[in-house]
Symmetry: C2
């Protein structure tokens, strides 16, 4: 889908890594949450509290998922899933637009 309807959006941005990663929080009527974010080129490590489904809307990046030794390369669109309570690494080579869904299980 190209847009999310009947949602709430938090006005204030989430800012990480000195602004090189930023996102906006979108709240759905069913109580679920997504963030729509931008990552500028750089290397980042993130931790998860809950399972995350990361959809890359546009970009070019490599992902090192927890327990893996090989980097996953996503160019253009793509998706990866990160388990809860883990860490993952990113090498972002161009401005990358993403949509992250938080899945409480």
């Amino acid at each position: 889908m190209s847009q999310f309807d009947n949602v709430s959006i938090v006005k204030k941005a989430n800012v990480y890594f000195d602004g090189k990663v930023t996102s906006r929080t979108v709240l759905f009527a069913d109580g679920t949450k997504k963030t729509l974010g931008i990552m500028l080129p750089g290397e980042y490590e993130f931790g998860t509290d809950v399972k995350e489904i990361m959809e890359i809307v546009a970009g070019d990046l490599k992902v090192l998922l927890p327990g893996e030794t090989e980097w996953l390369h996503i160019q253009g669109e793509g998706e990866f899933i990160v388990p809860a309570n883990t860490k993952f690494k990113l090498q972002v080579s161009v401005t990358t637009d993403y949509c992250c869904s938080y899945i409480s299980e």
Copy 2:
């Protein structure tokens, strides 16, 4: 208000200046539109199609409004209004979070 309710949000980001300025489009039930954006440090010039009310949610920047010779300095929160069909310049010194309202008259 800290969040906007019952809105639609466009999934794909608006990306300007190689990702140094990005925003998300929020559509309201009354047909109006806002963008929630982030500007990284840098100098930018923007043009308007309609009147814009720029609310700075957090940041530090100087603004040169059309027809002015003195820069307006906003630290923290602030607001400025830009008439339709004009250009304005920004000198952004820290990561700046904004909410822009588009006013068709």
